[in-house]
């Protein structure tokens, strides 16, 4: 029982990260119609940049904020330089472009940071907390906290602010939004900047648990996709549930069957979902898109 609870908490920690990445993917997809295959690379960039800044003497919060800003700039540049020029192109074109960008970022990360793993200290000191008999890492609490803050913040932005409503208007009816004077291309830029920020934040928060390497983004990005597809590719609520579900499934799969299987779980889930319910398993239940 304790063991299962332990698995559940680890799964939810991992799942929170997947959910954050999926959230960024879905937001970008809803606004721009582009699946950003480089989303995972934003996670790696944020994590590695924070590690470097921290070891250069910056405080942890300063390293975090600078890394988030730097990755946001990368996201914005990506949109301006390679996404905006092909905004009328086909799906295949845009997906190949984002894959090309992800390859480049990974290669550059290899060039700058090499193959060694980097680490950050846990955000708060102290041993694991005992919850219902299971040990929960304090860093895990930070990760949950990040997910909750992000989801609340995004929800508040979309539902409560004027600008958030302009974004939703653009998703609902692009032509009418244009007539109101809302510029979809600026929203597209915003989407990429926000994805950069979300990815980087997720990367920094997870680093004390998993360490940061140049190639961490590939697998995380892929898991984010699986989470988004489980939830239905344009469904924010679904992305969060999908992420948490996938994290838990992975940890249970690794713990109960074989640790070599951990990565295969996500892929098998993805293939099963695509074959059986490609519109997502949660899409129908919660329905609402942002």
């Amino acid at each position: 029982m304790d063991l299962y609870l332990q698995f559940l908490f680890s799964g939810l920690t991992l799942g929170s990260i997947y959910a954050l990445i999926a959230l960024a993917l879905v937001t970008t997809y809803n606004i721009t119609g582009i699946l950003n295959m480089a989303q995972g690379e934003f996670v790696a960039l944020g994590a590695l940049a924070a590690c470097t800044l921290y070891s250069a003497g910056f405080s942890l919060p300063a390293a975090f904020f600078l890394a988030v800003i730097a990755t946001a700039v990368v996201g914005g540049l990506m949109e301006r330089l390679v996404i905006n020029p092909v905004r009328n192109a086909s799906n295949i074109t845009s997906i190949i472009i984002t894959i090309g960008v992800s390859i480049m970022i990974r290669g550059l990360a290899l060039l700058i940071w090499g193959t060694n793993p980097y680490s950050l200290p846990a955000f708060t000191e102290g041993g694991p907390l005992k919850v219902l008999g299971a040990a929960v890492n304090t860093q895990s609490i930070w990760v949950f906290g990040l997910l909750i803050v992000t989801v609340t913040g995004l929800f508040a932005f979309m539902e409560k602010t004027y600008w958030g409503k302009a974004v939703r208007a653009c998703v609902i009816n692009r032509m009418a939004a244009k007539l109101m004077g809302i510029n979809p291309y600026i929203l597209s830029l915003m989407a990429f900047i926000v994805s950069g920020m979300l990815g980087a934040a997720a990367g920094v928060f997870i680093t004390p648990i998993t360490l940061a390497t140049y190639d961490m983004g590939f697998s995380l990005g892929l898991k984010g996709f699986v989470a988004a597809i489980i939830g239905g590719i344009n469904n924010v609520g679904g992305a969060i549930i999908g992420g948490l579900l996938l994290g838990v499934l992975e940890i249970f799969g690794a713990g109960l069957i074989s640790s070599g299987l951990k990565d295969a779980v996500a892929l098998i889930v993805l293939i099963i979902v695509l074959l059986l319910r490609p519109q997502g398993i949660i899409g129908v239940v919660s329905g609402r898109k942002v």
Binding site: I92, I95, I96, G100, I103, L111, A266
Partner: protein
């Protein structure tokens, strides 16, 4: 027009003679092996070109089909001592069956679904290769694949393989050209241009796209089978996701929807890869060959931005672009 035709045939004849005499001219086995690999990849990319150029869908699992073909040969010959013909048959049938299973649900969907399904499938297959225990030999792979042997003729030297591979490439090329100029090829291009109109003109688009996808896996498996026989040992590395990306790059660079494109694309990318392998360490000391992937990413992005017509709009007629390419080549060779 007749003059153009004459030039075309002269060019084809010259290219043909060039290919036939190449092994005698090349002093280095290394270069010959590169030409063999180009030929094998050309088969795989020819297949990818069919699903991308005709069905208008991108597949990130081509290396997995390539790998299934290779592993089929490796496993069947080393564990079960199958002969060449049945082993190669299995190397083509197995990927085709797998493609039929994945393709049926995902090809019906629009957008990115085939891309994601093939991406996941490719990664999963790679994990199976690495984690397959004794059957696949795990991360270190399988060794001791016998020589390719057709009716007692043993392909034990590189030049023999060279002729075999390029003979297959030419046969496949002719087959694809037949296809292109037939009811099937035109129907596929019709589906790509307007699926709804194709259906309204009596074409069962779902069935036809599935056949194209299966054929593309068939060619990848064929390439994989020959590859296994050529290198005689197999490990998971040459069938990774990165290789799938390289196949996509080759197909895109060569020009989609053209018959010559795949061979051209493979040649360019392989040559570029080899060049980078020499050049990168000169610029960045201590850098290994893996940095070439940065340039592949860059080329992929630039190609998509500046030459996207290869993928989305303005598909030219295959025969037209073929002519354009050939005359282009002729003009440059005439000038030099």
């Amino acid at each position: 027009m007749p003059r153009g035709n004459l030039m075309k045939y002269l060019f084809i004849a010259a290219a043909g003679i060039g290919f036939v005499v190449l092994p005698f001219v090349l002093k280095s086995n290394y270069l010959l092996s590169i030409f063999i690999v180009i030929g094998i990849y050309a088969l795989v990319v020819q297949g990818l070109g069919i699903i991308m150029g005709y069905a208008g869908q991108v597949s990130f699992g081509q290396a997995a089909f390539f790998g299934i073909g290779a592993y089929a040969v490796a496993i069947l010959t080393t564990h079960y001592h199958w002969g060449t013909i049945p082993a190669l048959l299995a190397a083509t049938v197995l990927p085709s069956l797998v493609a039929a299973v994945i393709g049926r649900p995902t090809l019906k969907l629009k957008e990115h679904y085939l891309a994601l399904a093939t991406l996941a499938f490719g990664l999963l297959v790679h994990i199976i290769f690495s984690e397959g225990g004794e059957l696949t030999g795990g991360p270190s792979g399988l060794t001791g694949i016998p020589y390719l042997n057709i009716g007692g003729f043993v392909f034990n030297r590189d030049y023999k393989f060279y002729y075999l591979v390029w003979a297959v490439v030419v046969l496949v090329f002719l087959g694809v050209r037949n296809l292109d100029r037939s009811r099937i090829g035109r129907s596929l291009r019709a589906i790509r241009d307007s699926e709804v109109a194709a259906e309204a003109n009596g074409i069962n688009s779902a069935a036809l796209k599935l056949k194209a996808f299966v054929f593309s896996a068939f060619l990848a498996g064929l390439g994989g089978g020959i590859y296994a026989y050529y290198v005689t040992f197999i490990s998971p590395a040459p069938f990774s996701f990165n290789i799938s990306i390289q196949f996509v790059l080759m197909a895109v660079i060569g020009g989609l929807g053209t018959i010559c494109g795949p061979v051209l694309g493979v040649g360019l990318v392989v040559a570029l890869g080899e060049a980078l392998r020499w050049l990168v360490p000169l610029v960045i000391p201590h850098a290994g060959g893996e940095y070439q992937i940065i340039f592949f990413g860059l080329i992929l992005v630039l190609a998509m931005i500046f030459k996207p017509e290869g993928l989305s709009t303005g598909w030219r007629k295959i025969t037209d672009s073929e002519k354009a390419e050939e005359t282009g080549l002729l003009e440059t060779s005439a000038n030099t």
